[in-house]
């Protein structure tokens, strides 16, 4: 099992400017609510899934990913089974198993939207270094104090994870058993685990504050940034293609209504 985290690579999506991806995640999430044709949404989710698969063949091994697909399909099935509005498409004698157009479209819509948004977020997370995203956000106006909250937590998270592992091992070699049957004892053990972790986190925060102050952090209301990658022609082309793509989806969606 893999963690859901940035994985370095060199795909087109990897090379896009973080803000381009972030903006399209937001825009895309809105647009899927404007489309009301279940089939289009379901196909859209399928396209995103294909992109995910092309970017990372091991996407199926990412923790929680199968649960997302399961939830999406379950939503579809629940609507098919319980929403009986619209015309009957397939009739069998048991009412629960007959299909109606209303149930079908609403099911595909809800499930398609859910999966499209989740897959789109996965695309962003898997291909974007969160550090670059934080810097990009600060460059377009996110107050740098908040931006660096994100940067420092990104830096400290793996360290804390490593510390957690060491503390667990240190408990193990001192004869601690994680006995789940005894809740009171388990609570004590968890407290014994959290105490060193918390103290260590506070100590780190203290030293980091020291280092921040010693290097002029917060001295001026603004700050500059070193030369970093900027949006390129790739971002413009991708944005144009995506705009055309969504325009086409709208045309299919609403064109058919006329």
């Amino acid at each position: 099992m893999h963690k859901l985290a940035y994985q370095p690579g060199n795909s087109v999506i990897h090379r896009l400017y973080p803000m381009t991806k972030f903006s399209w995640l937001i825009i895309g999430s809105f647009l899927v609510f404007l489309i009301n044709n279940g089939v289009i949404l379901f196909v859209l989710a399928g396209i995103f899934l294909l992109m995910l698969h092309l970017i990372n063949r091991e996407i199926w091994m990412v923790r929680g990913f199968r649960l997302i697909i399961f939830t999406g399909l379950l939503l579809l099935i629940l609507y098919l089974v319980f929403d009986k509005s619209g015309q009957t498409l397939f009739d069998c004698n048991i009412e629960l198993f007959s299909l109606t157009s209303g149930g079908m479209n609403t099911g595909l819509c809800v499930s398609g939207r859910f999966m499209a948004i989740v897959f789109l977020s996965y695309l962003l997370i898997l291909t974007t270094d969160p550090n670059h995203l934080a810097y990009a956000l600060m460059k377009i106006g996110l107050p740098y104090r908040y931006g660096f909250m994100l940067v420092t937590s990104l830096r400290l998270a793996p360290l804390m994870e490593e510390e957690g592992r060491t503390i667990y091992r240190a408990q193990l070699v001192r004869g601690v058993h994680y006995d789940r049957s005894n809740v009171k004892k388990l609570f004590l053990i968890v407290r014994q685990f959290m105490t060193p972790l918390l103290i260590s986190a506070l100590r780190r925060a203290d030293k980091l504050a020291f280092s921040l102050e010693g290097r002029g952090f917060g001295r001026y209301p603004g700050r500059t940034f070193r030369t970093q990658t900027n949006p390129s022609i790739l971002d413009i082309t991708t944005s144009i293609i995506l705009s055309l793509f969504f325009a086409m989806l709208f045309l299919i969606n609403y064109g058919s209504l006329i």
Partner: protein, 499 residues
């Protein structure tokens, strides 16, 4: 010309009774290369922070006296202004990184000062060349070795063009090779940049070639030291005589650790290669080698923390691939590198008796043994204190008691002596030596060649995941020299080399 002038400076930490620094006087010339040494807890870091201006920020002043840097009274300027003059680098570079990549880290201070992008890029290249770390430019901080991290920390401070650079034990987490490298770069920086450099350090032997001005901080006051060589506490000689006679042969003793053709792969990377090793009862074994050579991984594997792909390990009659770590607890004591990660309880006494309690072995005998050990290590008066209130050295002693009290046959220790002065180090090595003489075995990861030579029976030297030397201490250092790992040689050899 006097550049740093400290006059009658005293400082008491808020909530403390006794001052940490007492009427301290010191004058340092511009461009000097100064080393401040002293026992653990003597106030070296406090002095460093005082010069860097950090101690003048308390709401109510806790200091008396004056500190002038380049004719500026440090008490009268803001911390931001102070940081432009004096850069203070903390003990562990990991603690001071604010970003994730080398370039962001070096740019960080400059960006805060609103320097324009072009200037920043130029400065990054410049300081990386000064610390000879240009090849690190595009790396992520997490992928750097300890020595490389320290170089980046120094570079990120140099980028701010300070007049004074203070380094608080810059090499405490580094192996001797990386240590030598850092000292060499610092000396070079000081020569090329006309910087005043103050190093707070225990490792005086390796600083010898650079002929620094050396001061010792003792009881809150500074004394110049004329000779670096003299830095060995008087008591150590007696200890030495006591232990060098104990050269018993252990060959017939029962093996406690048996390793055959062990390979360990972690995260797709092969960390240990073809390890074959026997460690028997009564032995005091030092595990040495550069950072990243696999010492910690070897200890962890012996304790059963890692999956074994090929080869076998038997630890105190338990075959590791078949048994859980918990089966070993009674027989093996294990001390991790960071004391804070292994203090779980609410009092020193609870901590000392924690393992015995978990193993249901806490009888009256064991309790009186705990009292005895606490008294021996000077912790009996702190019996009811919270363990996290202890000083670093005290925590380390408590770790040692906590691991030893249930009398395990085997003690595995992943560095005990980091940041400890020689007097403490000798005392602890003596305790471990006595423990082995009582029929137990100790395996200690140790960078300190002098102490290894004085106390340990055998040296295992690792490099690149392999055991390259496995010999008695006296033979091992000859082999270490013949293989060219000169930085790992004891001080007597250093004296000979730099005579």
């Amino acid at each position: 010309m006097t550049f740093i002038d400290i006059q009658q400076f005293s400082y008491t930490y808020p909530g403390e009774q006794t001052p940490t620094l007492r009427n301290l006087n010191l004058s340092i010339d511009q461009g000097a290369f100064v080393v401040i040494t002293g026992i653990s807890g003597s106030g070296k870091s406090t002095l460093g922070k005082a010069i860097a201006g950090f101690l003048f920020q308390d709401e109510e002043p806790n200091y008396t006296g004056k500190i002038w840097v380049n004719n500026v009274n440090m008490a009268q300027i803001t911390l931001y202004e102070a940081s432009e003059r004096v850069a203070y680098i903390q003990q562990n570079p990991e603690d001071q990184f604010c970003t994730l990549t080398v370039m962001d880290e070096i740019a960080f201070g400059l960006e805060n000062l609103c320097i324009n992008a072009g200037e920043i890029d130029k400065k990054i290249n410049e300081v990386l060349s000064i610390v000879k770390g240009f090849h690190l430019k595009d790396r992520n901080l997490a992928t750097l070795s300890g020595g490389e991290k320290q170089k980046v920390a120094i570079a990120s401070m140099l980028a701010l063009s300070p007049d004074v650079l203070i380094l608080d034990e810059p090499t405490s987490n580094l192996d001797p090779i990386a240590t030598e490298n850092i000292f060499k770069s610092l000396y070079h920086i000081r020569q090329s940049q006309e910087l005043t450099i103050i190093i707070i350090e225990h490792k005086l032997n390796q600083l010898k070639p650079y002929e620094p001005e050396t001061y010792e901080l003792k009881c809150g006051a500074l004394k110049p030291r004329t000779s670096i060589n003299a830095y060995k506490p008087g008591c150590s000689k007696a200890v030495r005589n006591l232990t060098t006679n104990q050269n018993s042969t252990h060959k017939e003793n029962k093996p406690l650790i048996e390793i055959h053709q062990l390979d360990v792969t972690l995260g797709g990377q092969r960390i240990l290669h073809d390890i074959n090793l026997n460690i028997v009862q009564d032995e005091f074994v030092a595990l040495m080698g550069p950072n990243g050579s696999g010492k910690s991984t070897l200890l962890e594997t012996i304790m059963g923390f890692h999956e074994i792909r090929s080869g076998s390990i038997t630890t105190v009659d338990h075959e590791i691939s078949k048994e859980r770590t918990s089966a070993l607890v009674q027989h093996v004591g294990y001390i991790f590198q960071n004391p804070d990660h292994q203090l779980f309880t609410q009092s020193v006494w609870d901590e000392a008796t924690f393992t015995s309690g978990n193993l249901h072995m806490l009888n009256d005998d064991r309790k009186s043994k705990a009292d005895e050990l606490l008294a021996q290590m000077g912790l009996i008066s702190r019996k009811n204190d919270h363990p996290h209130r202890l000083s670093y050295g005290e925590k380390r002693r408590l770790n040692l008691i906590a691991a030893m009290l249930h009398a395990p046959q085997l003690l595995l220790i992943d560095e005990l002596l980091i940041g400890q002065d020689m007097a403490n180090a000798h005392a602890w090595m003596n305790i471990l030596k006595t423990y082995t003489q009582q029929g137990n075995t100790v395996v200690l990861v140790n960078h300190h060649s002098d102490l290894t030579q004085d106390y340990c029976d055998r040296v295992l030297f690792m490099n690149d995941g392999r055991i390259v030397i496995n010999q008695t201490s006296s033979e091992a250092f000859k082999t270490i020299e013949s293989l060219g790992y000169n930085a790992f040689l004891p001080s007597l050899e250093w004296d000979r080399m730099y005579a």
